[in-house]
């Protein structure tokens, strides 16, 4: 009986590509620019160049297109639902009249526009996590937020906590699985009785788990402090982030694309 084997790790897909090797900071900033660009689109036709850009980026990052599409799954229902609502409930010139519902020309346009906008937002955002390891992202975030450190923002602490959590999730998963099996072997049942009874059945799982967590935390704190860990100040890294010409070029290219498209959209389409 395997309880906890649903966890296939991460969205990241390793590949040798120019997108994978970019500095995580460049990728975070580029994605922010891209998402802003998509929010500014007014005309459905403007999504054609966006689609081309998506295809281009997918090819450039050597990702299978199906993997990129799969990342839209969490919002797929929302996309479909939104489109349907707009098809049937927008006033305008009727296209199909089914007596109860009327499909209008404006409705179809709106549905396509809203659906595509959501879909593109999700797909472009997913590039960040598909091509960047969580560790790189947390490094990148630490550096991007470092100007806020004098204001009291715990940039280093957050990154360090992310690293530790990342390291310990598999361990915690194993421990939990072990405790669950141990309790099952002793006659515990997690699938009988009312909700309250089932919840209470987890007490003998959570207590040993918390004991382990508190013991681990103490050990790790002692280990880190005896190696002179004292926060982010003056700390150096094994693999420092390096911003290269390629990063500037990538960010610049994206900015240029979004700006041109924005102008074209306002000038010729809207």
């Amino acid at each position: 009986m395997k309880f906890l084997n649903h966890l296939t790790f991460g969205q990241y897909i390793p590949a040798e590509s120019p997108v994978h090797t970019l500095d995580p900071r460049a990728k975070i900033l580029s994605v922010l620019v891209l998402l802003t660009g998509i929010f500014l689109v007014r005309h459905p036709l403007a999504f054609i160049p966006w689609g081309l850009l998506l295809a281009g980026l997918t090819a450039l990052s050597r990702l299978p297109f199906s993997m990129v599409l799969r990342s839209a799954k969490p919002v797929l229902i929302l996309v479909i639902f939104t489109s349907l609502i707009h098809i049937f409930f927008t006033d305008g010139r009727p296209l199909i009249d089914l007596r109860i519902v009327v499909v209008t020309r404006e409705g179809v346009t709106m549905a396509v526009y809203m659906g595509l906008r959501l879909l593109f937002l999700v797909l472009f955002a997913s590039f960040l996590t598909l091509t960047t390891k969580p560790m790189e992202l947390s490094d990148g975030l630490e550096r991007l937020f470092s100007p806020l450190v004098p204001l009291g923002f715990p940039a280093h602490e957050l990154a360090m906590m992310m690293t530790i959590a990342l390291r310990f999730i598999p361990t915690l998963l194993d421990e939990t699985d072990r405790i669950l099996k141990a309790q099952l072997a002793r006659g515990a049942s997690f699938d009988r009785g009312g909700i309250w009874k089932r919840l209470k059945a987890f007490l003998p799982v959570l207590i040993p788990l918390f004991v382990i967590v508190f013991a681990r935390a103490e050990d790790l704190a002692t280990a880190m402090e005896s190696r002179n860990y004292r926060g982010g100040e003056g700390r150096t890294r094994m693999n420092p982030l390096r911003w290269t010409g390629a990063d500037t070029a990538a960010l610049g290219g994206i900015l240029l694309f979004v700006a041109l498209l924005f102008l074209a959209d306002r000038r010729f389409l809207s």
Partner: protein, 181 residues
């Protein structure tokens, strides 16, 4: 009193536990429910407001960087999902639960009140998130009552029980250890 490194590590480990909470499903037909809310409230009750809040913040960041630790997966795209409000509430819920339950040897009634207030923070954020998402991102008009019907009513009874369980667990654990805040 715990030192900063110790708190930092505890917050990180509780972020990991919350991530596990998404996978600990209790089979209960028709919808199995997860222990997530329970662990969010427990992190506040056991670690105190600041550390509890930090642990949930780390949990969200990890999920956003692509680990599949939210109920429906993970990744930055989750921000656009209609249920992101519920997740965004976790740090504030943990903070609230921790704040209201501070002081050593907390009686059960105080823990219960803290857990329930924390739960109401989750719902407040969740419902507003759902409302904003549906009205402004999906641009369709839904009233706050419709949002309450899809976002609160189906889940509120199991969640109330989870909040009670969190208080009960915190009480049990707290009576065995003296170094809780």
């Amino acid at each position: 009193m715990r030192n900063p490194t110790h708190s930092l590590i505890l917050a990180a480990l509780f972020a990991g536990l919350t991530a596990l909470g998404a996978f600990l499903r209790i089979p209960f037909p028709p919808v199995p429910f997860t222990l997530q809310v329970l662990l969010v409230l427990l992190s506040g009750l056991l670690l105190g407001s600041r550390t509890g809040m930090a642990s949930q913040g780390v949990y969200i960041l990890l999920g956003l960087t692509g680990l599949p630790i939210f109920a429906g997966g993970g990744g930055v795209t989750y921000i656009l999902s209609p249920t992101f409000g519920y997740i965004l509430a976790y740090p504030f819920a943990a903070w609230t639960a921790g704040r209201l339950s501070r002081g050593g040897n907390t009686p059960f009634s105080k823990l219960l009140l803290a857990a329930l207030t924390g739960l109401s923070v989750i719902y407040a954020f969740g419902v507003s998130g759902l409302y904003l998402n549906l009205n402004y991102l999906a641009e369709k008009d839904v009233t706050i009552f419709q949002v309450l019907r899809i976002g609160v009513i189906p889940f509120v009874i199991p969640d109330l029980l989870k909040a009670a369980a969190a208080a009960f667990f915190a009480f049990k654990i707290g009576s065995h250890r003296s170094d809780f805040p």
